[in-house]
């Protein structure tokens, strides 16, 4: 059965749609990317799927999870899915972790919430998860506060939180944008390995063409709320059909060249 089936998703704040008739479907284990410039409605699409679009937005269309309609469901219903079956990794790992809570407890939080683990069991499981995401000295790290970790380490914690309950779908919203280029590669590699091990489906949102090729099989190109091109990632990247996609790829090349020049 289709895991996630989004049909004609439209998000409107009252002055024209910000996401306009987006359709997309994922089978278990699928890896789909959404790419587009900022403001193209990528993140809003992700939030709308799990019912977290701002209150001021009108969301229409259909979002089916294992055949069940999610749009219009109560917050209480949805929060059983969120963090358990569908989880998210956010863009800025400094802001998306609670600054006054030890990271171990933050990783344990979804376990306590959804799997009703006891405090001790959840804490032990959190240390295991921190180990799996490649953090050094996980027992000690679990007692650290977010500001004591580096950006890459924080995002690894974010990934540990997202994978804690073995979700069927992981939505990664620009997970590496706030990180150094050198750290990006490690975090992406980790994400790719972990979801491959677990058979987790991935919805990967980014503005960076260079990132999508390695981690997604299918790609949607979004511009001003509309999907302008869609297809297998390699095809879209090597033989783009839409002008906007060509522009995006050219822009990514230009930046890459700039960096080479600077390094060289």
């Amino acid at each position: 059965m289709t895991l996630l089936d989004v049909q004609d998703l439209t998000v409107d704040f009252g002055d024209g749609p910000v996401v306009d008739g987006l359709s997309l479907s994922l089978e278990p284990g699928d890896r789909v990317g959404i790419i587009g410039e900022s403001g193209s409605g990528k993140s809003l699409t992700a939030l709308s799927i799990i019912g977290l679009a701002p209150d001021s937005a009108t969301v229409t269309g259909s979002v089916r999870w294992n055949g069940e309609e999610l749009l219009g469901r109560s917050d209480r219903d949805l929060s059983e899915l969120r963090g358990d079956d569908i989880t998210m990794v956010f863009q800025n790992p400094l802001n998306s972790l609670n600054p006054v809570m030890r990271v171990g407890r933050q990783v344990a939080e979804p376990l306590r919430l959804h799997q009703r683990l006891s405090r001790g069991t959840a804490a032990a499981r959190a240390v295991e998860l921190l180990d799996q995401v490649g953090l050094p000295d996980p027992a000690n790290t679990s007692r650290a506060f977010p500001h004591q970790l580096s950006g890459g380490q924080r995002q690894r914690v974010g990934i540990a939180i997202a994978l804690a309950c073995q979700p069927a779908l992981l939505i990664a919203d620009e997970p590496t944008t706030a990180l150094d280029v050198t750290v990006q590669a490690g975090v992406l590699q980790l994400l790719r390995d972990l979801i491959a091990d677990r058979g987790t489906a991935l919805l990967f949102i980014t503005h960076d063409v260079a990132l999508v090729s390695g981690i997604t099989d299918r790609l949607l190109v979004m511009r001003r709320g509309l999907v302008v091109e869609e297809g297998p990632t390699t095809e879209v990247v090597t033989a783009p059909r839409h002008d906007y996609t060509v522009e995006l790829i050219a822009a990514a090349r230009a930046t890459a060249l700039d960096e080479e020049e600077r390094v060289g």
Partner: protein
Amino acid sequence: MRRIVRILWRTWPGRIGAVLSSVMVVSALVSLVWTPYDPKRVNPGERWLPVSRDHWFGTDGGGQDLFSQVLAGARTTLTVAVLSVFIAAVIGLVLGVLSAITPRWVGEALAHVIDVLIALPTLILALVLVAALGGSVWTISLAIGFASGVVLARVVKAEVARVLTQDYVLAASAAGSSTLRTVIRHVLPNIAPVVIVQLSLVAALAVLAEAALSFLGLTPISTPSWGRMLEELQQSASVHPWAIVFPGLAVVAATLGFNLVGDGLRDAIDPRLRSRVALPTLDLAGTVNQGPNR
């Protein structure tokens, strides 16, 4: 807890605050079981005695021991301070959080009600309540707690609104946390530093307000109080000026102590400030203290 004390101890203001507040609490506790003399016993033979080994703070015009009275007064002041802080915290957090997380029109309406209530001056409100309910420790605490609580509510609302825009609140929702759980686990800990500082100000204000109200004679005569002492002693201040020094100092010390502890606690609770090890702080001698090495 030990960690909090240690961090409070790290700076001079924190130390002074901790010492002053501890002295205040210890005095109040000691007065429950022991005072050198019965604070209420009138002894016409020992009127206006100066400071001596028998009477540490001297005696007043009735021959009553001033040290015993200051000890007993600490009890009343501390009770009012604790009750006021508790009432203010409950009112401020409930109103503030509600007005920030309820649907917009409810929140706005609540905010307007809060604004109107803030306009009521604390002491006037206290006078009205005393007139209506009779003067007692409870009435005064209720007035101070209520008036401070609505002011706190506005601060809390702004702080909660700030925290709610943070990604970690969105992340908590995305992890399936309910609104109530998010407020308790993510919002309240993040506004705690601000609330604690505000509450320490409430405690300091309560000390002053209790003194002012009892100075005006609005507390029952049976309740020992620094304000009442000041009122009685100031009538003879031109003849016996030293007698007024000690209850006056007690009020100042308690107010200062609560304020300093509040500042220190803010630093102790906020982990972002906690690891700020070597930030230079100015100590009272005016030399730059590089902070303890860890």
